[in-house]
């Protein structure tokens, strides 16, 4: 049999270029991770592969899985329908269930030029990881006794278990990264003298900003960063019974929640603006409230008097005035609104700035940050690079990781005397909002959150608050992804007969007739269901990703090849959806080959199975063919309807060449018969009965 011509004698396979667009989630991620891909793999239950994709874009996914501020979720287009995909939780699921802890990273030393990294926060660690991977000997120099920067001394343990950080650091040691702790670098010249050829400065932003009010020097006043560092290093500062936290960012919230865990009864955050201006993560804020933290908006301390071992705080109420340069409305004190309150301590958490030793000789810019060229991360000194919070001011872990990765490749360019190659983005970015008529048709599915420890239990210790998803919850959450940018396009405009079939069959009203009389399929609306691809009579429409284009045909060819080789023709071939429960859950035995004589062609939604694929399956000699899809539970619309149309079309052919049409069946979840495995069993019985009767017939003839 001619295998190359099995199912698609046609053009689909010819064009191998990837026309998918970069989805907004990926675009928002400082590391530019292929979120859509790993979310899709999770939705198929292919967790190890999901983890592989994650590791390709992120040196320390386990850390991000806990603490990333997930800007991807802020840009996720699913928010236009209901709620964004829980991307970070899915990553955590992949990291834990995919066995990230077991992964070992190897690195070979290929070059002799030594690289020094000053500071071991996420930027430094990431840079060390990549520089080492490229093949340079690398040393991390860290002032503290332990590595990790803010991951160690800033972020509280209930949000990032230290085992996670330790595992990543062990991996670095295993790769051969040299580590020097308790080493505060004061001069770079010394490092050059020691033979380092390139230096990456990532000293973070650890200098807390001050309120600048009278009495701030009093005992009982501590800055947020110092407080968290002390707690993280095992010192338990005594705070008394009533603590005020001044500030409205994540550090303020972390400080307040940490104080609660140290046993402080009354913790109040004073913030000078309102909740809507608060930079803190809303979820963190919510959790703080659950833990009993009180928040007073539009209030700020203006004077501290220490009396009888307590702090008498004079505060003032604020109102919002004109927007300032940050775009937020400036708080203005209301005259005569002063009031006093007594506290045992005050934690000032209103921001940090970098503090660079002057002997480094690097140029310092606004907000005490180190000035660099943003695309090469070079400072004014040759061979000296800088990145992370020290350059940006307080930012995020992923931004620091991205800076570390960029620095590694720039240091490589520098040491190899190469002109830095600009990073080229070949694929276009997906932009544009979903239209109301598209949104209307997209099935609303509630976002599922992983469980959290209950408020009262969690304040007793530093146990991780957010738990990990269960298998089924993760898969269902992942299935909500709209797969933005991987939909279809009319690749062959010259073939399009403007028949309007696509426009008529699309459940989401995506294809559009423009005023020149041409059909367009806007990439920003397409839901990638694939229905129009199979229905276009001119074969003008293709999926944007070559893999998606070929998937069914390739799997089928593979199945056929195996069957031909084994000389053991599969009596039954089933096209089985890979998403959700069919792929992974209760119904996985359908495709795991658990049933004798059933060979499964895994497909990513049955809507992509074309009538031709069904014919090809029969052509291999299959006695029965079935399609098993998610039916009502499919994340896309009308898929079963179109599958049934195609099945009827093929049955007509079968009938006319003397094959019983019952040999082709559709099984779906959520139809009248609850368990499709039972239906399948009956089908198998029926097929063997048909086989028996045809054997008898043949014998009777001969």
């Amino acid at each position: 049999m001619n295998l190359t011509n099995t199912s698609h004698p046609g053009i689909h396979q010819e064009d191998a270029s990837d026309h998918s667009l970069i989805p907004p989630c990926q675009n928002a991620c400082p590391l530019h991770m292929d979120i859509r891909e790993y979310v899709s793999l999770v939705s198929q239950g292919r967790i190890m592969e999901a983890l592989q994709v994650i590791r390709m874009g992120n040196p320390f996914p386990s850390i991000c899985a806990y603490v990333c501020t997930h800007p991807c979720e802020e840009s996720c287009r699913r928010a236009q329908v209901d709620k964004p995909i829980a991307i970070r939780s899915l990553k955590r699921f992949a990291v834990e269930f995919g066995g990230d802890r077991m992964i070992r990273t190897e690195a070979e030393t290929k070059y002799s030029d030594k690289v020094a990294i000053v500071g071991s926060g996420p930027a430094g660690l990431a840079c060390a990881y990549y520089v080492k991977k490229i093949g340079y000997p690398v040393t991390i120099l860290e002032a503290h006794s332990d590595l990790g920067g803010m991951l160690r001394v800033g972020i509280p343990q209930y949000r990032l278990p230290r085992e996670v950080l330790d595992t990543e650091i062990q991996r670095l040691t295993h790769m051969g990264v040299e580590i020097r702790t308790n080493t505060r670098v004061v001069s770079l010249d010394l490092l050059f003298e020691l033979g380092y050829k390139a230096i990456f400065i990532t000293i973070g932003a650890h200098q807390s900003l001050r309120l600048g009010i009278e009495g701030e020097e009093s005992p009982g006043v501590i800055d947020g960063a110092t407080f968290l560092r002390e707690v993280n290093l095992g010192i338990k500062p005594s705070l008394g019974r009533r603590v005020m936290v001044a500030g409205g960012g994540n550090v303020a919230i972390d400080a307040a929640r940490t104080a609660v865990r140290l046993g402080v009864k009354h913790v109040s955050i004073f913030y000078r603006r309102t909740r809507s201006e608060m930079p803190a993560d809303p979820q963190e804020l919510e959790q703080a409230l659950e833990e009993g933290v009180k928040i007073k908006y539009l209030s700020t301390p203006v004077r501290i008097d220490r009396e009888n071992d307590r702090l008498k705080m004079t505060c003032v109420r604020m109102e919002l005035g004109e927007p300032d340069e940050s775009g937020r409305r400036r708080p203005v004190p209301i005259k005569g609104s002063e009031f006093t309150k007594e506290f045992d301590s005050l934690i000032v958490a209103i921001g940090q700035a970098p503090q660079t030793p002057s002997d480094f000789g690097v140029r310092i810019g606004r907000g005490s940050t180190i000035q660099v060229d943003p695309s090469t991360l070079t400072t004014n000194r040759t061979g000296v690079f800088a990145g992370g919070d020290a350059v940006t001011g307080p930012a995020t872990v992923t931004e620091a990781l991205a800076a570390g990765r960029l620095a590694a490749s720039r240091i490589d360019d520098y040491l190899q005397h190469r002109y830095p190659l600009p990073v080229k983005e070949t694929n276009e970015k997906l932009s544009g909002e979903l239209l109301p008529k598209t949104i209307e048709m997209i099935r609303k599915i509630e976002r599922s959150e992983p469980l959290s420890l209950v408020g009262e239990t969690r304040v007793k210790d530093f146990e991780t608050v957010e738990q990990v998803y269960g298998w089924e919850a993760a898969i269902n959450e992942a299935r909500r992804c709209l797969r933005c940018g991987v939909g279809v396009e009319i690749l062959f405009q010259d073939k399009c007969a403007t028949c309007l079939t696509c426009l008529r069959v699309c459940p989401y009203h995506v294809p559009r007739l423009d005023n020149t009389g041409n059909i367009n399929i806007p990439a920003d609306q397409c839901q990638a269901c694939g229905i129009c691809v199979a229905e276009c009579p001119a074969k003008a429409i293709v999926l944007r990703k070559p893999f998606d284009r070929r998937q069914v045909s390739e799997e089928l060819t593979h199945t056929i090849k195996l069957a031909t080789e084994s000389k053991n023709k599969p009596p039954i071939i089933g096209f089985c959806c890979q998403y959700g429960l069919f792929g992974t859950g209760t119904l996985s035995r359908l495709w795991r080959g658990a049933k004798a004589g059933v060979t499964i062609v895994p497909v990513l939604c049955v809507a992509k199975v074309e009538a031709n694929h069904l014919l090809s399956a029969f052509e291999t000699g299959a006695e029965g063919v079935f399609i098993a899809g998610c039916g009502e539970q499919c994340a896309r619309e009308n898929t079963t309807y179109w599958v049934k149309q195609r099945v009827e079309k093929v049955r007509k052919v079968l009938r006319s060449i003397g094959i019983e049409p019952e040999r082709l069946q559709v099984f779906t979840l959520g139809t009248a018969v609850a368990d499709p495995t039972e239906e399948l069993d009956r089908f198998i019985e029926q097929i063997s009965a048909l086989r028996l009767s045809s054997v008898i017939k043949e014998e009777a003839i001969s």
């Binding site: 199912s7 007969a497 069959v505 229905e535 009579p537």
Partner: protein
């Protein structure tokens, strides 16, 4: 648009039986739109025929496939010469015009019709087509509110409705609208009911001089065009 329906697999198999090497030829225009012979149908038919061969066990056929933009214009058929080198027959999924255009263009290879060309019509919804015009050559839609009685009235009468019209449906088929009731309603809406009150004399379709030809250019004597 011309609308057709693919012939049954049995009939197609009977037609191609004597010819071992078959080129299935699609048409990218009307036959694509009416789902009878576009590239997708070509490949579906190809697969169906191959399956039939495999199952009958006595297959002698090999199939190739190709689709041109329009079979009814010879310029589009130029690519065919190379596609037909090792071919014994062309199974055309073009309409009757396409089949004839190919026969005219390629004198030596037989051409078989793979579809039954049915009518001129329009798409009602995806997968449903309705007849609308009989190409009578003498259009009367002006008088009938834009509704053709010749195609849409079962009897094709020019002065309807007939006595068999009931509740707006045709006596011949209760699912079909009576064309003349539709005409009446439309004329009423257009306030042109006077057109219903006229008598239209019968037409003699047999008198149509076949084959018809339309000339949209005038004969110019040689020599004149140069000056």
């Amino acid at each position: 648009m011309i609308v057709a329906e693919q012939k049954s697999l049995e009939e197609i198999r009977r037609m191609i039986a004597p010819y071992p090497r078959v080129l299935i030829l699609g048409c990218g225009t009307c036959m694509t739109v009416c789902n009878a012979g576009g590239e997708s149908e070509v490949s579906f038919l190809h697969n169906s025929l191959r399956l039939a061969e495999v199952r009958s066990g006595d297959g002698i056929h090999t199939f190739t496939e190709h689709t041109v933009k329009r079979q009814c214009d010879p310029e589009f058929l130029e690519t065919l010469s190379e596609k037909t080198i090792d071919v014994d027959v062309i199974l055309s999924l073009g309409c009757g015009i396409g089949v004839q255009a190919i026969a005219e263009y390629l004198g030596d290879i037989p051409v078989l019709p793979g579809v039954n060309t049915s009518f001129m019509g329009m798409t009602k919804e995806s997968g449903v087509w309705d007849e609308r015009c009989a190409a009578c050559g003498e259009c009367r839609l002006e008088d009938t509110g834009g509704i053709c009685p010749i195609t849409r009235c079962t009897k094709g009468i020019l002065n309807g409705p007939c006595a068999g019209s009931k509740n707006g449906k045709c006596e011949a088929n209760k699912d079909v609208d009576c064309a003349w009731i539709l005409i009446y309603k439309r004329l009423e809406r257009l306030q042109q009911l006077d057109k219903m009150r006229r008598y239209y004399s019968p037409r003699n379709f047999r008198a149509i001089p076949r084959p018809r030809r339309i000339l949209s250019k005038v004969e110019i004597a040689t020599g004149e065009s140069d000056g």
